[in-house]
């Protein structure tokens, strides 16, 4: 652990990685509770995997993979959101299709890209140690967008998540706010992919919020605790993985999973 702290003071890439974990924790702490209370973890997983299609296409065309990821994530979120609102019975199939087809498209694009082949593993499992400074600025900007949107429309998001029928009767556009919320989920997914990769995104989106849900009774407090837990897991995972040179993303997820297990068991023992 001391080795990590020493390295942190001298190595820019580790400082960037730590900033990456802070910024990712903010996004997943704000959006994770919505994913948990609305039970849309599978939907978020579908968006995350569909993103590979966008990243692959961008890579093939010689554009920024992050840009491709953003477009694919928002596109997938709006498509699933629309299907969920209008053809609810098809939702599950739609998510499964996007999940698999998105990944398949990504792999095809990457295989057809000439030249030095991209490290597919870093898309799938993340590589927080390689995160460049300019991506941090973009992530900070996305964080700000997510935080401001949630602050402005907190009551509408709460109403639409808790009782959409009642919200509709009060003149709230359930469709607009549901799709806006899914767009925020998509942005968060893109941010988290930089940290843990697309396969592990769902862990950071659900586990800190699920633990927070065990100890808090309002959505706002659940968000604050989720942010703190998210930072604990990401920075902790980073520190633990540094010395033995383990993959950071996987270590972070194992830590979050362990935390969730302990919290759930603890809850069982407290209230049998």
């Amino acid at each position: 652990m001391n080795g990590f702290i020493d390295a942190l003071t001298s190595q820019t890439f580790l400082q960037n990685a730590l900033w990456g974990s802070v910024l990712a924790s903010i996004a997943c702490g704000i959006i994770g509770p919505y994913v948990v209370v609305r039970k849309i973890g599978y939907l978020a997983g579908g968006i995350a995997h569909a993103v590979l299609g966008g990243m692959g296409a961008a890579y093939f065309l010689g554009k920024s993979p992050l840009g491709g990821a953003l477009i694919a994530a928002i596109g997938a979120a709006l498509l699933i959101g629309w299907v969920s609102l209008h053809e609810h019975r098809q939702e599950d199939i739609m998510i499964s299709a996007l999940w698999a087809v998105g990944m398949a498209a990504g792999i095809l694009f990457i295989s057809r890209t000439p030249g030095y082949n991209v490290d597919l593993m870093s898309y799938l499992f993340g590589n927080i140690l390689m995160i460049p400074r300019r991506d941090l600025y973009l992530i900070a900007f996305l964080d700000l967008g997510i935080a401001v949107t949630v602050l402005l429309f907190f009551k509408q998001f709460l109403a639409v998540s808790f009782d959409p029928e009642f919200a509709r009767l009060r003149g709230i556009s359930v469709e607009f706010f549901s799709l806006l919320l899914l767009t925020l989920v998509a942005l968060t997914v893109v941010i988290l992919i930089q940290v843990v990769g697309l396969v592990l995104v769902i862990a950071l989106l659900t586990l800190p919020a699920a633990i927070a849900g065990n100890y808090t009774r309002t959505l706002g407090r659940m968000m604050v605790l989720s942010i703190l837990l998210g930072f604990l897991f990401t920075s902790g995972g980073l520190a633990l993985s540094y010395q033995p040179d383990l993959p950071a993303g996987a270590t972070i997820v194992m830590l979050a999973g362990g935390g969730y297990l302990l919290s759930t068991l603890g809850r069982r023992f407290r209230r049998p």
């Binding site: 509770p33 209370v37 602050l151 402005l152 429309f153 907190f154 009551k155 509408q156 709460l158 109403a159 998540s161 808790f162 009782d163 029928e165 009642f166 919200a167 509709r168 009767l169 009060r170 003149g171 709230i172 849900g213 808090t216 009774r217 309002t218 959505l219 659940m222």
Partner: protein, 255 residues
């Protein structure tokens, strides 16, 4: 005499191929306490949703407070059946009641001081002010029902529509809830959907019996014959003067 607050004119509705309502007509007067009774699947909730504008009639017209249901719905207070949402949702009583202010408050940021005052008044009126900070997961059925009524009151409604308000609570609490509704009826028109005929007939002025088609009666006119026609089998009547106490829940009279 002022025109009816709700006019349902020859309305038919079906889900896919299954007809739920056929040529239903109904006029609700200002200040009335109307009970809508009938068997499960008889179309009671569907009729409420049509009045609220959540569904559109296939045939016929509905006018609420002189305009289309979709435009009038903000003047209505709706108390849904509470099986339809997640009771473990992390939300306090106060925040639930505040949702009634949506549509009357500002669009951006949180609720303002006036909204909080109206929510507090609604909780006071339904006697749940002391529960304001409790999470809804920690409430009893009767308390949760009061929260939903308070949320509807926070809308400043002219008409209150309640769907099976006593379905999940015990008979003693049921009586308290109806006493509350009776008090509110002094200023708000009430429509209550229930399959509990014997019970609600103590409170309402008029009952609409709904089983695909609708027949209205003043409460004193309900006889065994009418109920038999409605439910399609002989029914043991609970007479209107009969107050139910803990032992005899009124569902019994459908057997």
């Amino acid at each position: 005499m002022s025109p009816p607050v709700i006019t349902v004119n020859n309305v038919s509705f079906r889900y896919n191929e299954v007809p739920v309502l056929e040529k239903v007509s109904l006029a609700v007067e200002q200040g009335e306490f109307l009970g809508i009774v009938g068997p499960n699947g008889g179309g009671k909730s569907t009729l409420l949703k049509l009045i609220l504008g959540l569904l559109k009639p296939l045939q016929g017209t509905i006018a609420v407070l002189g305009s289309a249901p979709q435009e009038a719905c903000r003047q209505l207070g709706y108390v849904p059946q509470f099986i339809h949402f997640d009771r473990h949702f992390p939300i306090s009583v106060c925040d639930t009641v505040l949702q009634g202010r949506l549509g009357k408050t500002r669009t951006f940021l949180g609720f303002n001081r006036y909204d909080r005052k109206r929510a507090a008044q609604a909780m006071e009126e339904t006697e749940i002010l002391d529960l304001a900070q409790r999470p809804i997961a920690a409430l009893s059925g009767g308390q949760l029902q009061r929260v939903l009524i308070a949320r509807a009151l926070a809308c400043d409604p002219q008409i209150l529509l309640l769907d099976e308000p006593t379905a999940n609570i015990d008979p003693k609490v049921e009586e308290d809830v109806f006493d509350l509704l009776k008090r509110l009826n002094e200023r708000i028109t009430m429509i209550v959907v229930s399959h509990d005929i014997g019970f609600i007939s103590n409170y309402i002025n008029r009952v609409a019996c709904l089983n695909r088609t609708l027949v209205c009666h003043t409460t004193s006119a309900i006889t065994g014959g009418i109920l038999e026609q409605l439910y399609g089998s002989p029914i043991r009547m609970v007479h209107h003067e009969t107050r139910l106490n803990g032992s005899g829940k009124a569902h019994g009279n459908h057997q």
